[in-house]
């Protein structure tokens, strides 16, 4: 118990130390006022307000729905736009040693985060190994929509971020699944002697050929290859309508979250709390790593968001096939109805505020 407690306590304290050091250099009151303003500004942005509208409408069982094919098209648009923009940004900066370093950090974060989540879950909840491992995998992977919302938050404030962040997003999606399955297997081996491959061909295909991953990676490569010329051509589609489309998509996300709120009973208070503090731990670890390799303020914010967010598209599908004994009502509700709203409303401005305190001026 003490070992994993210490682990989860150490990282935030390391952070507080850095913040305290940097903080003393600033004018405190003016900064606090500005941070509060940013947080309030985020709350009153159309994106967050449409999300809240969706949650409310879903919760009261309004018949408001966004038809499935349209919702799918909106999500494809967001993947295409974010991938393309990231690719163009990377083509401008070129492949540097920073890119290699950042991608390595991303993979390590995704592999490592489930171990932290799993240790905490085993200590503070009575969940069995399979459920704990399935949840842990979700928290190592990332939420593309949270990332997209965070880039829109930064764009709105004209805060620059590196194009390689989109590449980090793409590589962080899957390593966590492998860690999650290894964690689940640890206990299974003791009881049964049979050896199956850790990850089946079907799951591999599903994870790597998942539509969102293919489109994100493909658009990134197209953006990277065509650069600024490509952007001139694509800008009317990928730049101008981006914020508005994101707002509509978040209305739809809100509706799904609102309808899932009735599943809270199955999650329980201990787990719901985990869905709130785990993103903070993740963000602390991620931002410390981003700060260490020397990313910009925007970059530190986004790595924080990536490490804090939990998957609800790729990982649930993979877990449903690989760990069918784990309860999807728990892991999807936790990442979709607890962690996603937390990150969207509170997390993003919070991580950005911390990034400004610790990041390069």
């Amino acid at each position: 118990m003490f070992a994993s407690d210490a682990r989860s306590r150490l990282t935030p304290w390391f952070f507080v130390a850095i913040i305290a050091y940097r903080y003393s250099l600033h004018e405190r009151t003016a900064l606090m006022a500005e941070l509060l303003q940013i947080a309030a500004g985020n709350l009153l942005s159309p994106i967050v307000m449409f999300f809240v509208l969706g949650v409310a409408a879903g919760y009261v069982r309004s018949d408001l729905t966004i038809p499935e094919p349209i919702s799918k098209a909106l999500s494809l648009y967001l993947m295409l736009a974010i991938g393309f923009k990231g690719g163009v940004a990377l083509s401008a900066s070129g492949i540097t040693s920073m890119v290699v370093l950042a991608l390595t950090v991303a993979i390590v974060l995704s592999l490592l985060m489930p171990v932290i989540a799993f240790s905490i879950l085993r200590v503070v909840t009575s969940l069995d190994t399979k459920n704990a491992a399935a949840i842990a995998a979700h928290y190592g992977s990332v939420s593309i929509v949270t990332f997209v919302a965070a880039t829109s938050f930064l764009d709105y404030r004209q805060v620059h971020y590196e194009g390689l962040l989109v590449a980090m997003l793409a590589v962080m999606e899957t390593p966590a699944i492998i860690t999650g399955l290894l964690l689940a297997r640890r206990s299974a081996d003791a009881s049964s002697g049979e050896q199956e491959p850790i990850i089946s061909a079907q799951v591999l295909r599903q994870v790597f050929l998942c539509g969102s991953v293919v489109l994100l990676a493909g658009s990134f490569i197209i953006g990277w290859t065509t650069g600024d010329k490509g952007m001139q051509l694509m800008a009317p589609l990928v730049k101008e309508p981006f914020q508005a489309v994101l707002a509509i998509f978040l209305l739809d996300m809100g509706l799904m979250v609102g309808r899932r709120l009735s599943d809270f009973g199955r999650v329980g208070i201990q787990l719901a709390l985990f869905g709130l503090y785990m993103p903070l731990i993740g963000a602390a670890v991620g931002m410390a790593a981003a700060w260490a390799i020397g990313l910009s303020v925007g970059g530190i914010t986004l790595v924080g968001v990536l490490a804090a967010s939990a998957s609800y598209i790729v990982v649930p599908a993979a877990m449903r096939l690989s760990l069918p004994q784990a309860n999807p009502a728990i892991y999807v509700t936790l990442s979709l109805a607890v962690t996603f709203p937390f990150n969207l409303v509170i997390g993003i401005p919070l991580y950005h505020a911390v990034a400004r305190l610790i990041g390069p001026a």
């Binding site: 499935e68 996300m253 799904m256 309808r259 598209i313 599908a317 449903r320 069918p324 999807v332």
Partner: protein, 102 residues
């Protein structure tokens, strides 16, 4: 008109498990199947409907019409595959027009 007695097996299963079931159906030698997507309802696993983000909460309906022996084979082979998944398996009698198609 001459009609021929066949069995109709219906399997409502969660979407993520459907490929496994379809593979099994083909392996039994059934000549074909029909799949209806976006099937919703409520049962042991609560409300099963939404599908905008993830397949985890959506169901599909698989219909197979086959000779009796194959139909029984499909039903019995489906059970171990459905152990941890939402699934409803039923079999009923139907008459078909084209005997050689099933």
């Amino acid at each position: 008109m001459q009609l021929h007695a066949k069995k109709r097996v219906e399997i409502i299963v969660e979407a993520s498990c459907a490929p496994t079931i379809l593979e099994m159906i083909e392996a039994t030698g059934a000549t074909g199947y029909t799949v209806l997507h976006e099937v919703s309802g409520k049962g042991h696993r609560g409300l099963r409907a939404e599908s905008n983000l993830t397949d985890v909460f959506s169901n599909v309906q698989i219909i197979v019409i086959a000779a009796e022996a194959i139909a029984h084979e499909i039903v019995s082979r489906s059970q171990p595959l459905l152990q941890n998944y939402a699934g409803i398996v039923t079999m009923s009698n139907v008459d078909v027009v084209r005997d050689d198609h099933f």
